[in-house]
Symmetry: C2
Subunit: 400 residues, 2 copies
DNA sequence: CAAGTTAATTTAATTAATTAACATATAGTA
DNA sequence: TACTATATGTTAATTAATTAAATTAACTTG
């Protein structure tokens, strides 16, 4: 329970000013004072401290508004760097960004499966060490390491509680990495990290409440409300992949029936296409797969759809409708300002998006809900790694 | 964007202390200081102001812990009163409570349907005026009026945007009542008000995140996170009645198919029972309904179930399973600490609750989610009116 | 009844925002 | 070119609140 102290008061104002500069910069002290209703001296004094800390810097003089020219303030983006790890089930992606999310390094390293917890940790460490070796100059500017992983993550203790796709449990990531590198480490579920990343550097910017839906081999979502990730009581908030939308539907890997991901995730789409092709339905997929049904994947269906293949378009369209129904349920429950669709299947782009939007416009209860802002992710294959980075930035920029 | 000011700092501490006394009282100043990490002088000075304002008072001396006896502080419950209105689709319930939620007056007045917005407002005013006349002594202790109404409510402007069961739109409740009675007025959706009421005075006490589900002729939910109602972007958060859980199911009044409320709400249950009885299924309902199928209602089914009628028990059980599936979807999305089930159908009590719990224990993804705390409401037919009251109390006790 | 302990208040110091006054820089204008 | 108005930003004094230290109060225990 945060109590009112001078420290807290100051930290609050510091955070307000810092975020103002990040989101509105270049911006003058005077403008910040007007926007935030803080007084000019308060702004000046905090700005001085922020400059001393290196987080911001003075840039050009702005245009005069009929008086003295304002000195514009901007984030001093090269003053600090953050390492982000996307410890996916297939590979580890490592990123190094500055304070503005500028990517200075990005690499992928395949995991040789199956992998033990120790092997995974070892690999994460070696990737980080490699990065540190490569960026010796900036080493003491690195403020921390963010790790995004699928499954259930205890963010307070920084433990991966359960990573189903790797069949691992209770990996003490935070503890291991912090002792090895002596840097603060944040661990988060991948969908949640992505959501934060979208709010910081992607399609989520400027919205008060954002749900980022990640559609890949499963479906997950991250919920960001007023800049804060929403975790729920035991970290599983946003697990929409196993939302029942068709009681009488197919059985899911979780044991239940008619889960959203049995209808709209990558494997479900591929499965449906395989069936259709197998029974002789005409499609570009037959050719593209080289006659081998097992080559049909979400990616291939997307490719075929872009080439105009009707079967693929139909399959993506119907997946979009199912996803739309799942999102309607989400809208009625959470009513977010914006929903962002990302992940592998989202590469299907407009075909999928249009179906989702149509469904929502048709089925949502209120006029304003029908018009919920639905967008595609713009972060591509770096989304998760950038999300991991934003875990640390969000702390740096928030109330300390 | 709340900035850090002395006022804010103090208001924050005031709220912390006041709520501590409400939830933990009788409690001494020293104990508050220990619990909250505020310093003794800060506590003393704020307590003095709270006593002066009338909100709290000193009560008995506590037991000595080996030194001076502590002076216990409690809410001065009779210092202020609040009016609550449950402007339901069938009647208006009016309540007067003190600061501890003690009910000093409760009355119901039937609505003669159909009703226009003006008639509804007139009736609300006459009910309030009647209450004020009856409690002339306490009149200047009344701090405000809370109104709970079904449908979509714009809480910022205090307008009922759409009340489907009365077929009314855009009723300016706050404006009308504030000018008439010169008292602050808060308007809220009924399910949301109930949720807040449960947190303040019902089964929701002590939980960090609570979802209160109201099952009646429809199904609605209110979400309370850290004591704050969650509204979403345009006030529809918690509308779980139209959650699609059976794509291939029956059409709902909203036009979509397989909405939760076509499977678990009062009318759906009654419909199912009627059908079964009509085709000659043996049941106590035949007798209880006096041979007239139209007399079969949720209430009657509940009665029959309590008398051991197997058909009724089966129907309630399966409604519980459907509700459980809806709540699974909710748990996976919001992951609340506690879920409270209330409303007409919830009178079916343990039969329904057991089915819900079984379903959740069976279908939820994680061990901890399976064990989500599910309870029945304890506020009975006053739940909504008490919820309306808590709208004002929550403001009085929060940061100003 | 003295010593120790807990509770609550008083006094002084400290923190950080705010207010008021002032310095600085520029545009517009006579 | 000098003057005025205005916007930007800083300095010094003031204010509001917490915090730390000291004090008073009230009680228990040996």
């Amino acid at each position: 329970m945060q109590r009112g102290t001078f420290q807290f008061m100051k930290s609050l104002n510091r955070s307000i000013i810092l975020n103002r500069i990040r989101l509105e910069g270049p911006i003058s002290r005077a403008q910040i004072a007007k926007d935030t209703k803080l007084t000019p001296p308060t702004v000046s004094s905090i700005v001085k401290e922020l400059i001393d800390s290196g987080l911001i810097k003075e840039s050009i003089q702005g245009e005069s508004q009929g008086g003295r020219k304002p000195t514009m303030l901007v984030i001093n983006e090269k003053s600090f760097y953050v390492i982000g790890l996307d410890a996916g089930p297939k590979d580890i992606k490592t990123i190094l960004t500055d304070l503005n999310g500028g990517v200075h390094h990005f690499s992928e390293k395949a995991l040789s499966l199956p992998v033990t917890a120790d092997e995974l940790l070892k690999m994460m460490k070696s990737e980080i060490q490699g990065l540190l070796d490569q960026y010796k100059e900036e080493e003491d500017k690195i403020i921390g390491i963010g790790v995004a992983m699928h499954g259930v993550v205890d963010v307070d203790r920084g433990i991966s509680l359960y990573a189903p796709n790797l069949d691992l449990r209770n990996i003490p990531i935070k503890e291991e990495l912090e002792t090895t590198f002596n840097l603060p480490v944040k661990v988060e579920n991948d969908a949640k990290a992505i959501a934060l990343g979208e709010v910081w550097f992607g399609s989520g910017s400027g919205a008060a409440s954002v749900v980022a839906v990640n559609v890949g081999s499963g479906i997950g979502a991250g919920i960001v409300i007023n800049g804060q990730l929403f975790h729920g009581e035991h970290f599983i908030a946003g697990e929409i992949g196993h939302m029942t939308i068709d009681i009488g539907g197919k059985q899911c890997s979780c044991g239940n029936y008619g889960c959203l991901q049995t209808l709209a995730a990558g494997p479900a789409i591929a499965e449906k296409a395989k069936k259709e092709v197998a029974i002789g339905k005409e499609s570009r997929l037959t050719e593209l797969s080289g006659g081998n049904l097992e080559n049909i994947s979400g990616r291939l269906i997307h490719k075929a759809a872009m080439e105009g293949d009707q079967l693929s378009r139909d399959i993506l369209h119907s997946a979009g409708i199912y996803l739309g129904i799942g999102l309607i349920n989400l809208i009625h429950l959470l009513n977010p300002e914006r929903i962002i669709i990302g992940g592998g299947v989202a590469n299907a782009g407009e075909i999928l998006l249009d179906a989702v939007k149509e469904t929502i416009a048709k089925m949502a209860l209120t006029e304003r809900a029908k018009q919920t802002d639905i967008r595609l992710s713009g972060l591509g294959n770096k989304a998760t790694a950038i999300g991991a980075v934003s875990l640390l930035l969000s702390e740096l920029f928030s109330i300390q």
